[in-house]
Symmetry: C2
Subunit: 168 residues, 2 copies
DNA sequence: ACAGCCATGTAACTTGTTACATGATTTT
DNA sequence: AAAATCATGTAACAAGTTACATGGCTGT
């Protein structure tokens, strides 16, 4: 529900039309999560369906601005006040993959780990380089989060390799 | 595509029926990601539709075992050999939330951070306790991954607070 | 008799996502 | 004139998820 709530939060400071919303969303998250413009419109329709936003009249250039409703504002506040918990999160594909490699007695599990480490290493390099071309605090924090996560992943991969070696 | 590939990987060591698959999946991931039994059947149907598995005849107790096809085996190998990259991953709700709190000039952004830190702390305690009742390497590695991630999250939250204070 | 587990399956829904169609305006 | 950007929108689909219906078997 990230995009849904993200757009809602952007609308909380005033009406916007679709194209503006994409711009502001990407200005915050940067190249990390590009947002397909089509998705903005589908999401806005669904927010409207659920009574969280309301479209206005099209202006002289055919642009339709959406306004947040009181219900929408409530929902946004609820979102900000409710922490993201562990069980809300989607299944982590990498973790499933290693767990299944173990269960399926994949012979090459250490190779799977090494492939992943190489890829994550490359990701870390991209992210570090990207930090130099960052504008604004939000973008920077998003990048830092990715970096922290990638580092944790590297540590976990090392840890997995160590434990698997132990078990031999 | 975690469940899809996960079930495929389990089937790679021999035919299984739905209920067995859920059991083995949960034996690996533990209480971390419980798998609704209905989802096993919907996923199996979709795997069949895509030619990756094939159902056999129902046995005397009405159980239908699925067998992986050559195409399915290929797909599984491809999965294991392809590292999970950064851009495959779903948007991280917490990161979006903080980025949007900044963009929306949420006054209480530090409160959002503090709420999250408390919740993550509690998660960490649960996870640490859960480690004592863990059986098997896979379950242990899954839990360790969650712990590493939660710790990275704590560090990131501290980092965010520090940077926001700096900017005042 | 009844609770609970084993076992299968379907219908309905959500979010996310992309491909496509359409046209106005702006820049080169 | 052509290319790029601004701008809206729809159709179609994937994957995940749950609620529900159904029935057999097992233990108390």
């Amino acid at each position: 529900m990230s995009i849904r709530h993200g757009l809602l939060a952007l609308l909380s400071t005033g009406p916007r039309y679709g194209y503006q919303l994409r711009g502001e969303f990407e200005a915050s998250t940067g190249a990390t999560w590009p947002l397909n413009i089509g998705q903005v419109y589908t999401t806005l329709s669904r927010l409207e369906r659920d009574g969280l936003v309301q479209p206005g009249e099209a202006d002289d250039q055919g642009r339709v601005s959406y306004t947040i409703t009181p219900t929408g504002r409530e929902e946004m506040t609820r979102w900000f006040n409710t922490p993201v918990v562990h069980s809300d999160r989607p299944r982590d594909e990498l973790v499933i993959k290693l767990a299944m490699a173990l269960a399926a007695k994949e012979t090459d599990i250490t190779q799977v780990i090494r492939n992943q480490r190489t890829a994550t290493m490359r990701t870390l390099q991209h992210l570090t380089r990207a930090k130099n071309t960052t504008h604004g605090t939000a973008q920077r924090l998003v990048l830092d989060s990715m970096i922290f996560q990638a580092e944790a992943e590297q540590r976990w991969l090392d840890h997995c390799e160590a434990i698997l070696k132990e078990e031999t």
